[in-house]
């Protein structure tokens, strides 16, 4: 790991941030379009050519909306919750590796930062993002927000364990916590095999827990709109709600990125080395579509089902997976 000049790091941060900031509305449109097609309808097709203006219209609508604070709310806490949510989501993006060092010439590494504790960094910021949901729900001073916040807390704490254990197998195989090292261990220089083959159990647990971590269907209990209006963001409007919303989609991208880096060989793929970011983005795209596909298909779990599934199924399977991986690696 080489430390790059500060200016290069700032430039990289801005590029990644802008890229993702622009991708999120497109994913939103893609999701609405695909959800429509999965349900035998068109989806948005009124704004602009075939609905391409829809993201712009959505963002403009959110920007022009009133900012509402209930009497029972704690205003400053309510204001910082969306900030925490989006900061943690974007910060996690920094460690998604888009390409190896020097793929585009020079010493430039195509990732935000290569921290030697990459996986831990991912968990740390993942846990911090729950704090935003908790704070937002609690500070809103509304019963639905509170219920949503409680649900997020319980759900995210339960699935955090499963997601951590599911990645441990990969960490054991790669012998490193850094995402760049993990990807390199899957290339020809390392084991030469994408980790989803030896770690198929870990991969499945990671994906299921990933759906729960991002609070998306079928684990969208924190914002179960049929029961608790919108959960933790019930009292939010305008761009504050937009921040929560965007953070959710950035988390989808992050989970996709981590899945690609840890299980699907990251930037490895045929073609010259400078194609690396294209490969990462293409693989992430497939995962984003998977997220949308599952959302179109599966109904929401009941709360006790969610808990018993997390504690009684996912965590034992993930633990067994880690034990077996460790035994196989040592023996």
């Amino acid at each position: 790991m080489t430390v790059e000049p500060v200016l290069v790091q700032i430039a990289k941060a801005i590029v990644i941030f802008l890229l993702i900031l622009n991708i999120v509305p497109q994913i939103l449109l893609l999701e609405r379009k695909l959800l429509g097609r999965f349900q035998a309808r068109y989806g948005p097709n009124r704004v602009g050519l075939r609905g391409l203006g829809q993201p712009l219209a959505d963002v403009l609508k959110l920007l022009s909306k009133e900012r509402f604070t209930p009497d029972t709310a704690v205003p400053w806490m309510m204001a910082i919750a969306p900030v925490i949510s989006i900061v943690t989501a974007v910060a996690t993006l920094a460690i998604i590796p888009f390409g190896p060092q020097g793929a585009w010439g020079g010493d430039l590494g195509l990732y935000g930062i290569d921290v030697p504790i990459g996986v831990l960094y991912f968990f740390a910021f993942g846990s911090l993002s729950f704090y935003a949901l908790m704070l937002g729900g609690w500070a809103s001073g509304s019963k639905y927000s509170f219920l949503g916040a409680m649900r997020s807390a319980a759900q995210l704490i339960s699935y955090e364990i499963a997601i951590g254990l599911s990645l441990l197998g990969v960490v054991l195989m790669a012998g490193s916590l850094s995402f760049v090292d993990i990807v390199e261990a899957q290339g020809s220089g390392g084991k030469g095999i994408w980790f989803f083959i030896p770690q198929i159990v870990g991969f499945l647990v990671f994906m299921v827990a990933g759906f729960a971590e991002t609070a998306r269907a079928p684990f969208d209990l924190p914002e179960a709109d049929a029961e608790i209006v919108a959960g933790y963001n019930t009292e939010y409007g305008g761009m504050r709600f937009g921040s929560f919303f965007m953070a959710e989609y950035i988390e989808v991208i992050v989970i996709s990125g981590v899945a690609v880096a840890c299980f699907f060989g990251g930037w490895h793929g045929p073609g010259p080395e400078w194609l690396a970011p294209i490969w990462v983005l293409a693989k992430m795209f497939v995962f984003v579509i998977l997220f949308i596909w599952v959302r179109a298909t599966l109904p929401r779990l009941r709360y006790d089902q969610l808990m018993s599934f997390g504690w009684k199924v996912l965590i034992p399977i993930a633990t067994l997976n880690v034990l077996i991986t460790a035994i196989v690696l040592v023996v």
Binding site: R37, F38, Q39, A40, R41, W293, V294, T297
Partner: protein, 177 residues
């Protein structure tokens, strides 16, 4: 008391008990089948009818906006102002004021004609009783259902509006559609 398994008695087939390893296996299978079901929709054309551009076709007997008729050969109105439709109307939305035909001013084929014939479309329940009550088939129900307007007063249709050939905006359902 026991039953014979005849045609009257149905044996209830219960699904397997949920839970356990078998339950997990079946749930996994059901999840994959669900994913396949939604994925198959991608290949199909959406079933949406994009309303303002595409309209739902109606059946020939669909009861929409009324029409008043004239005799095709003489051009005289069929309505003789008998007010039977007024009597039949459960919503009381029709108003008829009859007047005598004179040789100089022959409007309808009978002795009298409807000097005023108004239907209040905001009250009409489209039951079609007026059509049934009419002895001369002077009023029939058309197919148009796009009757929304901005003013209540605009929804009172006069005789001229009902006599005029309506802009047929509603497609008719084809045979076997």
């Amino acid at each position: 008391m026991s039953y014979e398994l005849t045609d009257d008695v149905i044996e209830v087939q219960r699904g397997p008990e949920p839970g356990g390893l078998g339950g997990a296996y079946r749930t996994f299978g059901a999840t994959l089948r669900g994913l396949r079901t939604t994925f198959a929709r991608l290949a199909e054309k959406p079933v949406t009818i994009q309303y303002p551009e595409e309209k739902t076709p109606v059946y020939p007997r669909f009861r929409g906006r009324h029409k008043l008729h004239r005799f095709e050969d003489t051009g005289l109105e069929k309505c003789v102002g008998c007010s039977l439709c007024v009597a039949a109307c459960p919503a009381q939305c029709i108003r008829v004021v009859a007047d005598e035909n004179t040789p100089e001013h022959q409007v309808s084929a009978g002795e009298r004609y409807a000097a005023v014939y108004e239907i209040n479309m905001s009250r009409c329940i489209f039951c079609g009783y007026c059509e049934v009550a009419c002895p001369f088939d002077a009023i029939t129900m058309g197919n148009d259902y796009e009757l929304a307007d901005y003013e209540r007063s605009d929804l009172i249709f006069t005789k001229e509006m009902l006599l005029a050939e309506p802009i047929e905006r509603t497609p008719l359902r084809m045979e076997g559609e």
